[in-house]
């Protein structure tokens, strides 16, 4: 269900964003032309769906009380969480990488002249398209660890949306350097770099940005592993 919704969001995103772009394309756009951002814009909505899925993977068990049965069956709670993360990353990562490719090709087919042609062989493009899938899997994992940390669906979902989706909007409202600087090192600002091709002055670049994003998720994971062991179920 959720995976089907992600397919819809990604493909619709690629279509809505890319279709018609050629009609408004001007010479000034050439400098900032970013086929990654255009074809993969669906990532913005999809990250919400994947993140919610990650949150629910853990909090769903807390709500239903199933988590007790799970921890009785496997008292090594860290291992339970690690296995969940592994399975989640595999399934969601593979699916979202596939989606990312589909969105890229769908979007590309709408980018007709005068928009310069773009192909998978162009520099940076493979990184961006794989990066779309990686980023989505990362947001899902982030949601999952927040779920393990906070245990309640509403709280974990609010925290994930707050950090990944609200913070960028807040920072965009600020005119001074503070906003741009915080944005550069915020989880979303850093993570976004991998599926974009154009990196402005205030950005870390594809892989350094993604590394920082991963570090945020890893820190949340460490906190989750630490508390899940010590806390009563």
């Amino acid at each position: 269900m959720v995976l089907a919704a992600t397919l819809l969001a990604m493909v619709l995103g690629a279509w809505m964003v890319s279709a018609g772009y050629h009609s408004s394309y001007t010479a000034a756009d050439r400098a900032s032309f970013d086929p990654g951002d255009l074809t993969l814009r669906g990532v913005i909505v999809t990250q919400l769906l994947v993140g919610a899925l990650g949150v629910l993977t853990v909090t769903g068990e807390y709500t239903s009380g199933l988590i007790r049965t799970t921890f009785i069956a496997t008292p090594q709670r860290g291992q339970v969480l690690a296995m969940k993360a592994l399975i989640f990353t595999t399934v969601v990562g593979v699916w979202c990488t596939g989606l990312s490719f589909v969105a890229f090709f769908v979007g590309r087919s709408f980018l007709t002249a005068p928009v310069p042609p773009v192909g998978l062989g162009d520099p940076g493009v493979p990184t961006a398209v794989f990066g779309g899938g990686l980023y989505l899997a990362g947001v899902g994992l982030f949601g999952m660890f927040l779920g393990a940390l906070l245990r309640r669906t509403a709280a974990a979902l609010a925290a994930l949306v707050g950090v990944m989706m609200v913070l960028p909007v807040v920072l965009a409202l600020l005119p001074g350097n503070t906003g741009a600087l915080v944005s550069e090192y915020s989880p979303a600002g850093a993570g976004f770099q991998i599926w974009h091709l154009v990196h402005s002055g205030h950005s870390l670049g594809a892989w350094p940005g993604f590394a920082l994003f991963t570090a945020y998720a890893a820190a949340t994971a460490a906190a989750a592993f630490f508390t899940i062991r010590r806390r009563d179920v």
């Binding site: 408004s24 919400l48 949150v55 005119p175 001074g176 350097n177 906003g179």
Partner: protein, 277 residues
Amino acid sequence: MSSSASLATLPPPARTVSRTRRARAVLAAEWIKLRSLRSLPVTLVVAAVFCVGLAALVCSDYAGHWKDVSAADRNTFDPLTVNFGFLRIGVLFFGVLGALVVTSEYGNGLIRTTFAATPQRGLVLAAKAALLGALALPASSVVCFAAFFVGQGLLSGHVPTVHIGDPGVLGHLLGAVAYLTATGLCGVFLGVLARGTAVAMTSVFALFLMLPVTVDELPHTALWRYTVPYLPSNLGETVWHSHTTGLLTAGPAWALLVLWPAGLGTLAALWLRHHDA
């Protein structure tokens, strides 16, 4: 623990009652439930602090960095738009609050008890919506007016400001209040349609945050012109006065802003009538 003694204490109810008497009873019941939700005042206070705080942060940032703002940006600078930027986030609090009023009954099965006590489900929905509206209206008024006065206060002396008496300003303030209240009502009805907290919250975030971020800045193709300006977030932008181009004019935007909760409410009422609780 015998129950026979209680037989006499309860007068037999009137079999025929006026619709207003029935509606008053449901309203009273829903009010008791609403005021005994402890998360409600907490959420409202957090929302107010966040919104006014964000408006203050943005305005003081503008006041402090005015010398860095480019001449082009100075020309398009609108003190009201900058002041009300918080609405893009503040709206989420109201939407989620509305959703939680409903989904707090679905998660634990309380909704069955509620509908067993009042099988007139449309009445229950109307009562919930009316109470949320009655709560969101003053709450959003306090938030918007406080944010306005704090924000303009911080801007004044450094950058251009507006006064509440200036033409159109009060209208946009009321527009901001209406937008937040309408979103709260949309949240209630999305809560009914989604039934679960997770799905309801995700729908609110998708409709009011992610979708606008994705589509607002796209080229204005025919597809864009027939869809994007009609999103509730963009109707809101029109009534609280942003400078996104290509949006509707104020009159139709106000009307459609009312139509969104009305439409979702109709869907929710139909859903309740035809589905098992």
